[in-house]
C-alpha cells in the first residue's frame, strides 16, 4: 500500500524527465519501504512474544496496548485528553512564536537591543527550563494559564535566537538593493529582512516545537494533572502499563502531527525556501 502512495507523489514532469531512471529509483524506494515494514513487523512480533512471557505491569503486549487504546477512545478519555493537550500546546506555542519573532527581529535589527538582551537569552538557554515549573506555579497557579506559561517558556528562546540570527544573515546584496531603491526602515524589514529570515525562523520553530511538546507533557503532569500528561500520570500510578503505552503513543502522534503541520505551512506559504535552499540566493 505504501508503495502505491509513493508512486502517486512523484510529479508528472519529473517522471517524464527521469523516465529512463524511474524503475531503479522506484525499486530503491520500494526496497527501503520493504525493509522498514519488515523491521516493524519483526519488532512487534518479538515484543508480543517477550511481553507474553513477562509480568504485564512491566511490559504490556502490542495487542493489549491496542485494546487499551480502543478502550480509551470508546470511553472518550483519549479525545478529551487530546483536545486539552492541543489547547495547552497551541496557545503556548502561538504566544512563543509571536514573542519570539518580535524579540528576535528587534535583536537582529538593533545592536543595542541585542547587547541588552543577550545575557538573559544566554542565561535562559543554559538553564534546564523545567526547573522553572515550580516558580511558574507560584506566579500563575495550577490552571490553564500556568500550563500555557510552561509551554511558552520552554519554546520561546530557540525562536528568538534563530529569528535574530536570520535577520542578521540578510544577504548584503539585498541590503544594498534596499538602499538603492530607498526603502524605508519598515519596508526594508517587511519586504527584505523578515522574509529572508524565514528559513532560520522555521528551524527555530522546529526546535521550539520539540521543546513545547516537552513543556506540554510536563505541565500536564506537574502543574495540574490533566490532559495527556495527566492521563500518563494516572495510568502510571495505577500500573496500568497498556493504557500508559497507549497514552505515550498518542503523545508521539501529537508530536508527529504538529511537526507535519509546520512543514505543510512552510511548503504551502513559503515554497521558495525549499526551491532556493541549494542555491541559497537567486
Amino acid at each position: 500500500m505504501s508503495n502505491q502512495t509513493a508512486t502517486v507523489t512523484v510529479p508528472m514532469a519529473q517522471q517524464a524527465v527521469r523516465g529512463r531512471r524511474r524503475p531503479s529509483r522506484l525499486r530503491r524506494l520500494g526496497r527501503t519501504l520493504g525493509i522498514q515494514v519488515v523491521s516493524v513487523a519483526v519488532f512487534l512480533t518479538l515484543w508480543q512474544w517477550v511481553g507474553g512471557q513477562m509480568n504485564p505491569i512491566l511490559l504490556a503486549t502490542p495487542t493489549a496496548v491496542m485494546a487499551a487504546f480502543i478502550d480509551l477512545v470508546a470511553t472518550n478519555q483519549l479525545q478529551a485528553a487530546f483536545v486539552m493537550a492541543m489547547a495547552d500546546l497551541t496557545v503556548g506555542f502561538a504566544l512563543a512564536i509571536i514573542v519570539g519573532i518580535v524579540v528576535g527581529v528587534a535583536m537582529g535589527r538593533s545592536r543595542t537591543i541585542e547587547q541588552v538582551l543577550n545575557p538573559y537569552i544566554n542565561f535562559m538557554q543554559a538553564t534546564p527550563l523545567v526547573a522553572l515549573v515550580p516558580l511558574i506555579v507560584v506566579w500563575f497557579g495550577i490552571g490553564y494559564e500556568a500550563r500555557v506559561a510552561v509551554v511558552f517558556v520552554l519554546a520561546v528562546w530557540s525562536i528568538i535566537i534563530n529569528t535574530s540570527t536570520g535577520v542578521k544573515a540578510t544577504p548584503k546584496i539585498l541590503m544594498e538593493v534596499a538602499q538603492t531603491y530607498h526603502l524605508s526602515t519598515f519596508d526594508q524589514l517587511r519586504a527584505i529582512s523578515l522574509p529572508s529570515a524565514v528559513p532560520f525562523i522555521f528551524s527555530g520553530l522546529r526546535i521550539g516545537l520539540g521543546k513545547a511538546l516537552i513543556g506540554m507533557v510536563i505541565a500536564e503532569m506537574e502543574v495540574s494533572v490533566v490532559g495527556l500528561g495527566g492521563l500518563l500520570n494516572d495510568y502510571g500510578m495505577e500500573f496500568k502499563t497498556a493504557y500508559l503505552l497507549a497514552g505515550i503513543a498518542t503523545a508521539s502522534m501529537v508530536g508527529v502531527l504538529t511537526a507535519v503541520g509546520l512543514e505543510f505551512i512552510q511548503a504551502r506559504f513559503f515554497p521558495w525556501v525549499h526551491a532556493t535552499s541549494s542555491r541559497h540566493q537567486a
Partner: protein, 261 residues
Amino acid sequence: MDTIAIRVEGVSRQFDQTDGQGPLLVLDGIDLSVSQGEFVSLVGASGCGKTTLLKMMGGLVGCEDGTITINGRGVHGVPDNIGFVFQEPGLLPWRSVTGNVELALQHKRLPGAKKQEIVRRYLEVTGLTDFAGFPPYRLSGGMQQRVGLARALAVDPSVLLMDEPFGALDALTRAALQVELGRIVESVGSTVVFVTHDVDEAIFLSDKVVVMGTRPGRIRAIVEVPGKRPRTREEFASNGAYLELRNRILRLIEGVPEAAA
C-alpha cells in the same frame, strides 16, 4: 557644450586592513566626468577599485576624500533617480518577477495602476513579459539579470550604474544581452557607467573606456571609442579599428607605457 551628468573630482578611498598593516589605498585621486547620455565603461584588473568607484557614485560606499556630483548635486547617500544593476542579480526569491521590479517603485508615491503600468512597460523592454509571474529561481542566470535591469530601469533613472552585470553568464547569453543592452540604453537615453573586465564588452557598448591601474587605483587613460552606438556585431567584427583599440587597452591594463606600444 555637453551637460555633465556625473563629475568625479579628486576622489580617493582607503580601506582599513584587518591585519594591522595600516590602511590600503584603493582609489587615488580619481578625476572623471561623464556627459549626459554618454556610455562609459570602467575597465581594469581585479582590485583596481572600479567597483568601489561605481558604488561611490551610487552612494553605496561613502565618499570621504574628493567630491562626486550627479546632475550637479553632491552624492551623499543614494541619489534619487539612479538605477543600479549588481554583479549578482540580487532578486527576492519570495517575490515574482513583477514583484521584484515593483520593489524599485515601493518608496514612490504613485497610484497602484501607474506603478503596474511602469512595471509592465519595463518587463516588455527587457523581454520578460511572458515570465512576469515566475519566481526568480525558476529563471536562468541571464533572465535573472534582465529582471535586475528592468528593476533599475523602472525608476526612470537619469544615470544607470552597472557593476559587471554579465560577468557570471555564459558567452552566448552574454553576447545576446550586450546587443540588447545597447538597444535598450539607446531607447531610454540614460547615462550609463558600466564596470567590466571584459575589454571587448567595454568597447562594443561604450562611447568612452576608462582604463584603471591597480594598487592604488588610478586612471591610466580614457579612450574614446569611434563609431556610433548601438553597434552591431557585424560591424564590430569587421572593423579593424576595434581590434587595434582592444590591443591598446589590453596593453594599458598590463601597464605597458603608451609610447612603447
